[in-house]
């Protein structure tokens, strides 16, 4: 099998006009999208870009966005709106970066790719990962927009609830960090058992957040008649959304587990 490299050399060295193709933005975009206007070595082209690393990077970003909920609520509770806005901006930009990573992973997963796990499962996992960041961003956006204060009596419960929710996302990240080890072990054996135990812990954390959500709602119910009704309605909404973040983090774990099922 004769390589293409002699050809590349001809193209880039002997025909300078064509050499500019390699730096041309349109050609670069085609190359990045996996469309090769120039032939490549057939053996090297057997190897596709593994989605494993990019998937991990994506969830690391999504988690970073969700983890900002802790400083965000700290700022909200002391009603430091400048700080609230700053954290919200940070979360929005992290969510945007995660979005870009998501698109890049999808772009590099053509149907012709042969993967160690089903492609549809990977794409679903990716989509669930993305939703963690989306919901966290929704919370920050709504609370900043309405400058939503949290009643003093509700604050300790709320703080613990948000922290536990971020714990769920942290646990999901821990499990996702095992994805490259899973590839090393062929998605089976001890490594798979380890990930399953991590997901079990994640489920436990999510159950905690469910209980805390009920407590926070009950506490708010006791306070609601003394508060402006519209504010109360939106507070219920925020409580539900925080619960969503934990719920979606759990789903990341469940989808990851699904990859292991043969």
């Amino acid at each position: 099998m004769v390589g293409i490299n002699a050809y590349y050399e001809i193209v880039t060295v002997r025909l300078p006009a064509l050499a500019s193709l390699r730096t041309d933005p349109y050609t670069c975009r085609l190359l990045n999208a996996g469309v090769h206007p120039m032939p490549v070595n057939p053996f090297a082209s057997l190897f596709g870009r593994s989605p494993i690393g990019p998937m991990q990077k994506h969830f690391a970003k999504a988690h970073e966005c969700a983890a900002n909920l802790v400083p965000f609520f700290e700022a909200v509770m002391v009603e430091d709106w400048a700080k609230v806005e700053q954290v919200q901006q940070e979360m929005a930009s992290l969510e945007h970066e995660a979005d870009k990573l998501k698109k890049s992973v999808r772009l590099h997963l053509p149907k012709s790719l042969f993967l160690p796990v089903p492609r549809s499962d990977l794409l679903e996992l990716l989509s669930v990962q993305d939703k963690v960041a989306n919901r966290a961003k929704d919370i920050a956006g709504l609370m900043l927009g309405r400058e939503m204060a949290i009643p003093q009596a509700l604050q300790p419960l709320m703080r613990a609830f948000v922290q536990r929710t971020v714990d769920a996302s942290t646990q999901a990240l821990k499990a996702m960090n095992e994805l490259d080890e899973l590839l090393e072990t062929g998605f089976g054996g001890r490594e798979a058992a380890l990930v399953e135990s991590m997901v079990m812990e994640l489920e436990q954390i999510e159950r905690d957040t469910d209980k805390m959500q009920i407590e926070v709602r009950r506490a708010l119910f006791k306070l609601e008649k003394d508060l402006p009704p519209v504010d109360v309605m939106f507070l219920y909404k925020i409580i539900e959304w925080i619960g969503d973040v934990a719920d979606r983090a759990e789903r990341v774990g469940n989808r990851l587990e699904q990859l292991l099922a043969r």
């Binding site: 099998m1 004769v2 390589g3 293409i4 490299n5 002699a6 050809y7 590349y8 050399e9 001809i10 120039m38 032939p39 490549v40 070595n41 057939p42 053996f43 090297a44 082209s45 057997l46 190897f47 596709g48 870009r49 593994s50 989605p51 494993i52 997963l109 012709s112 790719l113 042969f114 993967l115 160690p116 796990v117 490259d180 080890e181 590839l183 090393e184 072990t185 062929g186 998605f187 089976g188 054996g189 001890r190 490594e191």
Partner: protein, 420 residues
């Protein structure tokens, strides 16, 4: 017989030139696929890979290239059916045809095999230029079958090797310790498999006549020697706690990287042993005719050692003048393969190809390697594989044989018009 009497020396020199250029092409382009895996998984630096390729391609071509060369020389065509003149011109056209087709294919980036081109070309001139009976159809069947069997076989072997690595090393409580314990066994297997196939099959042309049992025991010795060297190299590998934090198997992969030094040697040896024939097989046939003065073509003249030497030197020069660039490029493109997978693919390929070399079957090293990589992929070992390449390879099979044959017929008629 005036052709050979009049132009014998000129024809011989021309044939040497064509053969040498084919060997140069093998060294410049084909070797890269065999070595790229080791460079890509960072088991070897480019310099190390080139050094290993030079030494072991040469050794493989010179020591174990005889059987396949014999097949190209006299296994495909029936020498008793072809007059000496036509044999010389035909084999030359075959070299020209394969060279031309490979040049075209390389500019298009088609996965064309040197082996398929030369076999197609030899069949072409004999079947159409001489007569259908001039082809040993009984000999062609096994060759074509081996092109399907070799990738499948190496795929199965690679799958098995990968699963055994999972069971013995990776999926255990202490993968690093088990890697140090079991990796030397894979090293032994590498040394043993390559030498047993080489030693039990002719080293006669360099004056070494071994019986099967002598060859077997000598191979055990080679395997043990390789294993001892490996154990010494492995003793320097320590657990890297920092790297393991990020990726738990980082230290284990370092152990496999040492193993890959040996499998890379085996790959280069296997490649040399099988692919040198593509360049010097036709040359060997021409030399046979000319040395016998154009008389006794039917009689099997022994393969002169210098023909293999010429091919081996051609490959090394191809590597030194151009191949190193191709190895560097491919090494940069193949980065998703870690040593624990790369070794399985290389060992499976090397064993299959050396085995084919021993029984004189010309196979495609690259296709065999593709089969091995797919075997590892089927064991869920590789992040992503482009299956589109398989279709391209299949198409190139269908196209290369007829095109190689047609070009060979074309050159054959031209040469016949010039010389006869």
């Amino acid at each position: 017989m005036s052709l050979i009497a009049d132009y014998g020396l000129v024809l011989l020199l021309l044939a040497c030139l064509f053969g040498f250029f084919m060997a140069w092409g093998v060294g410049a382009n084909d070797v890269a696929n065999a070595m790229g895996t080791s460079v890509g998984s960072r088991a070897l630096t480019i310099k190390q890979a080139i050094l290993i390729a030079m030494v072991f391609e040469f050794a493989g071509a010179y020591l174990a290239g005889g059987q396949v060369t014999e097949t190209i020389k006299s296994g495909i065509v029936d020498a008793s059916m072809i007059t000496p003149d036509l044999m010389v011109l035909g084999m030359m056209s075959a070299l020209l045809a394969a060279g031309t087709w490979l040049l075209v294919a390389s500019t298009k980036g088609w996965p064309v095999s040197t082996t398929h081109s030369i076999v197609g070309a030899v069949i072409g001139f004999a079947a159409v230029g001489v007569s259908m009976d001039a082809v040993h159809w009984g000999g062609v069947g096994p060759i074509v079958a081996s092109w399907v069997v070799s990738p499948v076989l190496s795929g199965i072997v690679a799958f098995g090797l990968f699963v055994s690595v999972q069971k013995l090393i990776i999926d255990t409580d202490n993968p690093f310790q088990n890697a140090k314990r079991f990796v030397p066994l894979y090293m032994f297997a590498t040394g043993f498999m390559v030498s047993v196939m080489t030693l039990t099959k002719g080293l006669k042309h360099i004056g070494l006549n071994l019986s099967s049992s002598e060859g077997f025991f000598l191979s055990l010795g080679v395997g043990a020697l390789v294993m001892l060297l490996g154990i010494v190299l492995l003793s320097r590998i320590k657990i890297d706690v920092e790297a393991d934090k990020d990726f738990h198997y980082a230290s284990v992969e370092k152990v496999f990287a040492v193993l890959m030094i040996f499998t890379a040697c085996a790959m280069a040896f296997a490649h040399g042993s099988n692919d040198v024939a593509n360049a010097v097989g036709p040359l060997a046939a021409i030399v046979g005719v000319i040395q016998s003065g154009g008389e006794a073509v039917g009689a099997k003249a022994a393969l002169p050692a210098w023909v293999l030497l010429l091919g081996a030197v051609g490959i090394v020069i191809g590597l030194a003048t151009y191949g190193y660039k191709v190895i560097a490029t491919i090494g940069k493109e193949i980065t998703e393969l870690t040593p624990s997978r790369g070794f399985a693919a290389e060992l499976a390929t090397a064993t299959t190809v050396v085995g084919a070399s021993a029984i004189g079957l010309p196979v495609s090293t690259t296709h065999t390697l593709v089969g091995a990589v797919l075997g590892v992929g089927l064991a869920r070992g590789i992040g992503a594989l482009n299956l589109g390449v398989i279709g391209k390879i299949f198409m190139s099979w269908l196209i290369t044989l007829p095109v190689g044959a047609a070009l060979s017929i074309f050159f054959f008629y031209i040469l016949r018009g010039v010389f006869l």
